[in-house]
Symmetry: C2
Subunit: 335 residues, 2 copies
DNA sequence: CTGTTAGCGCTTTCAA
DNA sequence: TTGAAAGCGCTAACAG
């Protein structure tokens, strides 16, 4: 049986309050401090966080509810968030929504019952209703990577539409006009599609229907199938914007399989600087999201919200995502 | 403020014990059952798990301490383990050891203080000492993917050395003799190297020093650098065994960069059927680990251990990893 | 600075 | 079946 604070009392003859105060960094006469420290060492005492939580009503644990734990993107976010939290003495309880609203609601409910102090959420959809249990429980939620249809929550995103716009501007600058886009049908996909449209309109380029793909299927498949279709066209695009990591994987599979050369035959811009773009040949030109900043900002806001409650209005942080040139875009000399 | 069991008492006029019994699935007169259910709905009551844990001494939370959360391998294991645990009503607290023994010890200590019921551990090294805090606390630990220098713990691994042996046998069957190996310097790397040796000895093939690489650097770098060296050799190998996913990424980078053709100029066998092998061209021939089984077996044993304590001896489960043929190995017609 | 006392919200004897 | 009471291990007033 693990030692308790009462064992320390028997060992030292001091009162519980004194020991508790010592444990929480309060002032104790140095003579007593010594005694306590000895007893702690002797008994190998470690505070029971459960008991502590029951009275303080803080578990120093936050829930990380992620739309899809299998995606590399969330893995990296997880890594950074976990590091930030541990640095501040917080633990992280992880739940996978598996791209399903119902599971998302359950995950949040689960976290609330576990009395987490706050929740970091990568939402599945724009629907705020799965979060209701956290709201009722008064548990703050910070949204990561995606907004939802409610401005009641703090939120850290990148400026998806202008990042996509800059990417397409770049393609156009390189001389491309026949540009296709493949995007997932959710928040980031839609935003990035908007940026694509804006850039093309600005340049006065008409985009035929068959250059625009979007879908709700698993992203890698979407990328793969869409690219296959694009390559069948008689009037093929010269460049493709792929709006997320998984889509890019599919696109690359299709390109490789077809024996088409990139960037010789087709140029490609993707999103997210994860492992593949680094190992592929040619190096992928991409929009790099500041993963570490997304995580650390999210954690910072969440902890502040936990400290201060609703003393400040919901924060909407939009981070800048830079375009990183690789070698997957061909520069077409203009006439 | 969230409703408590006392609010239910005020609402129903019943005793705390009765309500508690209902909550825990005990027998209650159906009349009272109704009352309680109504009150729960009306007050939106949800039990406080912290309070419950304090008295039952079970948190229904397990710790997942992972050597390196950034690796795709652990991400997939995480996903499966999390699903298994949630199915059984358990939560998962995640900690990253960041490939560091000290951080591993801290992570385990952290989990113990959080009163987790058990720990799933992908160890950083073979050293059992970081686990001591869990042992002292009487918290069961199940090792995943790697063994350590102690047979006191349950453990789920694959049969690394024979899987590697089969892979090399296959290369030899395909007519290769000049076979190089690149392995990380830790448990799985060493085991797989043993399999490599066994196969080569069996076939009576001498392996020159410069065909064997191992190192403690980050795996992707190791693969990249080693492959670069191999390609400089005048007497190049015709095939390479890469003993883990990250190493393979590096190897592929080096191959791509050098303009060497796979499998035309060089054949490659890797480990782990994750995303890259599926998107790369040619499809990588590899040893596929049964990720889902590793996770579910680990969870099963851990929960059993939590239930039954030391009533049964430490389990050592070794799962079979199958070789999956892709197109990255050239079949050399034998003379 | 120290100790006493009263809980946190729940489960669990034990007697009724 | 039910309820009163004790207590899980700790913190937080409040007196001393």
């Amino acid at each position: 049986m693990a030692a308790t604070i009462k064992d320390i009392r028997s060992e030292t003859g001091l009162g519980l309050a004194t020991i508790s105060k010592y444990l929480n960094g309060g002032n104790v006469r140095s003579e007593n401090r010594q005694k306590i420290e000895e007893a702690i060492k002797k008994l190998d005492y470690h505070p029971n966080e459960t008991a502590r939580s029951l009275v303080t009503k803080r578990t120093r644990t936050i829930g990380f509810v992620v739309n899809n734990i299998a995606s590399s993107f969330s893995g990296v976010l997880l890594q950074h968030a976990s590091a930030c939290l541990h640095d501040r003495g917080y633990g992280m309880m992880i739940c996978d929504s598996n791209l399903d609203k119902k599971q998302e609601a359950e995950s949040i409910r689960f976290c609330v019952e576990k009395q987490v102090d706050g929740i970091l959420l990568i939402p599945v959809s724009k629907d705020p209703s799965p979060i209701s249990s956290a709201e009722k429980g008064g548990i703050p939620v910070v949204l990561l990577d995606r907004e939802i249809e409610s401005d009641a929550f703090d939120c850290v995103v990148i400026d998806n539409s202008s990042a996509a716009e800059r990417a397409v501007d770049y393609l156009i600058d390189c001389g491309h006009e026949r540009i296709a886009v493949i995007c997932s049908e959710e928040y980031t996909g839609n935003e990035r599609f908007r940026g694509f449209r804006r850039s093309m309109e600005k340049a006065g380029i008409y985009v035929p229907e068959q250059y625009m793909y979007s879908g709700r299927t698993h992203s890698t498949e979407l990328g793969y199938n869409s690219m296959k279709e694009l390559l069948k066209l008689k009037d093929k695009p010269t460049a493709v914007l792929s709006t997320n990591y998984e889509v890019s994987l599919g696109v690359i599979m299709a390109i490789n399989e077809s024996g088409v050369k990139c960037p010789g035959d087709i140029s490609l811009i993707g999103f997210d600087e994860l492992i593949l773009p680094m190992v592929m040949n040619p190096k992928l030109t991409l929009v790099a999201q500041p993963m570490e900043d997304i995580a650390s900002e999210g954690v910072r806001i969440l902890l502040q919200r936990i400290e201060e409650g609703k003393k400040f209005p919901p924060q909407k942080v939009s981070l800048y995502a830079a375009l990183k040139e690789g070698e997957s875009v061909r520069k077409i000399s203009k006439l």
